[in-house]
């Protein structure tokens, strides 16, 4: 994301685009990242329901990985997965 110069700043400390928070990457301080084992996954989407940060990517009603730009690595998805299809892997080893 290219940051605007001071002449391009909107007047009065405002953000004019609604829903812009997804542009702000908050996944940089994760210690453990969730990694999906597609072979085990049964697409129950428990992870999608429980993820507090909307970081489970779903396509055609199927679990399709993680939004690593916003996932904080809390591990809830891994904990709630009934088939142990999500492993938490230390970032440095990935």
């Amino acid at each position: 994301m290219k940051l605007p110069g001071w002449k391009e700043m909107p007047e009065g400390i405002v953000i004019l685009e609604a829903g812009n928070s997804r542009e702000y990457e908050t996944g940089s301080w994760r210690t453990f990242r969730p990694v999906l084992n597609k072979e085990k996954c049964i697409n129950c989407l428990f992870c999608w329901i429980y993820c507090p940060d909307s970081s489970i990517l779903v396509e055609n009603e199927k679990m399709n990985g993680f939004d690593y730009s916003h996932c904080k690595g809390c591990g809830i998805c891994s904990k709630v997965c009934p088939v142990k299809a999500i492993d938490m892997v230390e970032e440095v080893t990935v």
Partner: protein
């Protein structure tokens, strides 16, 4: 001949009258001496149904200005008033209002800050808010305070910045003066309908106000805010032109009094300017080339304009009704010296701190100031750059 509509009003009553005529959408205010009467009289207008204002009675000045910020962001025309400790309690919200570019208009009835506790006039309250990003007008008389407040609405809403209108506590706020108010219709059409460029209550155009801006953006926001003050002076002049058409009273950025051919000049804010002008009249009859300049717009500081008015002087006295404890003279002194630092003839500039805590400033005091400046002019010797007048040794 059209008869003039003249009224004998105290400063606070005149401010309340102006507020009634402006009829703001929201007023959130907390009473404090010597501003109390503004809130009291205005609340009577509210109770009598003479205004449509939503009057928010709050538990402190911090809350008063916070409520003003919320109402202004929501799209309302908002006014308030305070003094001294009240303004000090508003301090953090002052910066929020100016940073968010909210056109709130506030009367400040200048009063000394504690400690020791004191209810009388000096300028330490507003001078403490000097760098907060609020436009500051200063008013010598009741008439000027009334006129400045009405013009402040138009200016604030045009430049999207909050405005503070100052007048001296008790000396002006409680002094009865015959003034010529405008008609209600004239004020209403002069201020017009407030049309904010954006407002939170406009649900079809949602936006975020007041988000966190860290190392990557804070500086750009503040730099763009700094730029906003450059548009203020032309707007102040334009609004003054329009105001002259309905009132017959033409205001400049400052008032000059016998300054053009003067060799010695005095810079003074608010009510003491009247005393200074009186002394100048006397000294002029003795052939002394003395004059006065009374800044009306103090923030943003009209740097180039003041430089032009002052640089021909040989000796300048700056009257400060506030001190900068541990600093170098009063706040006005610092500004005036800085403005004239690179003027070719380098006037000698002295500071006179006066009237703290409501200590009276008399004709004698000002005579003494001019005597001191004259001896500096003839001897070219300066004993003290920063002086305190009217003080027991």
């Amino acid at each position: 001949m059209k008869t003039k509509n003249l009224l004998a009003l105290e400063g606070n009553q005149a401010i309340a009258l102006a507020m009634r005529q402006i009829n703001p959408d929201v007023v959130a205010a907390y009473p404090i001496t010597p501003q109390t009467e503004i809130v009291q009289v205005f609340s009577e207008y509210v109770a009598n149904g003479e205004v449509n204002t939503e009057f928010v009675t709050v538990e402190s000045e911090h809350s008063a200005l916070s409520a003003c910020v919320g109402a202004s962001a929501a799209g309302a025309r908002v006014m308030t008033a305070t003094s001294s400790q009240g303004l000090a309690l508003m301090w953090e919200v002052l910066y929020i209002a100016s940073g968010a570019r909210l056109p709130i208009v506030m009367t400040v009835v200048n009063r000394a800050l504690s400690s020791p506790i004191n209810i009388h006039c000096d300028h330490s309250d507003a001078m403490g808010a000097r760098d907060s990003g609020w436009i500051q007008f200063w008013s010598e008389t009741v008439q000027e305070a009334y006129d400045n407040l009405i013009q402040a609405i138009r200016i604030a809403e045009k430049v999207h910045l909050p405005v503070m209108v100052n007048m001296d506590g008790f000396i002006t706020s409680h002094a009865e003066e015959v003034i010529e108010p405008l008609s209600d219709e004239d004020v209403r059409s002069f201020v017009g309908e407030y049309k904010p460029t954006r407002m939170l209550l406009d649900v079809s155009n949602p936006y975020t106000i007041g988000p966190l801006a860290l190392q990557d953006s804070y500086f750009e926001f503040k730099r763009s805010q700094a730029e906003a003050y450059k548009q203020v002076i032309p707007v102040v002049r334009e609004v003054a032109e329009d105001f002259a058409k309905i009132s017959g009273r033409k205001y400049e950025l400052y008032e000059v009094y016998n300054l053009e051919d003067a060799e010695i000049g005095l810079v003074v804010l608010n009510s003491a300017a009247g005393t200074a002008k009186d002394v100048v009249d006397t000294l002029r009859t003795q052939g002394k080339k003395v004059g006065v300049i009374k800044p009306r717009l103090f923030r943003p500081l009209p740097v180039e304009e003041l430089k032009k008015e002052l640089s021909h002087l040989e000796v300048i006295g700056v009257m400060d009704r506030a001190d900068t404890y541990g600093g170098f003279g009063g706040p006005l002194f610092g500004d005036i010296r800085s403005i004239l630092y690179d003027s070719p003839n380098h006037p000698v500039i002295l500071d006179y701190i006066y009237g703290l805590g409501g200590r009276d400033v008399t004709l004698e005091h000002i005579h003494k100031v001019f005597e001191g400046l004259e001896s500096v002019k003839s001897s070219c010797k300066v004993e003290n750059l920063v002086n305190y007048i009217g003080i027991r040794e």
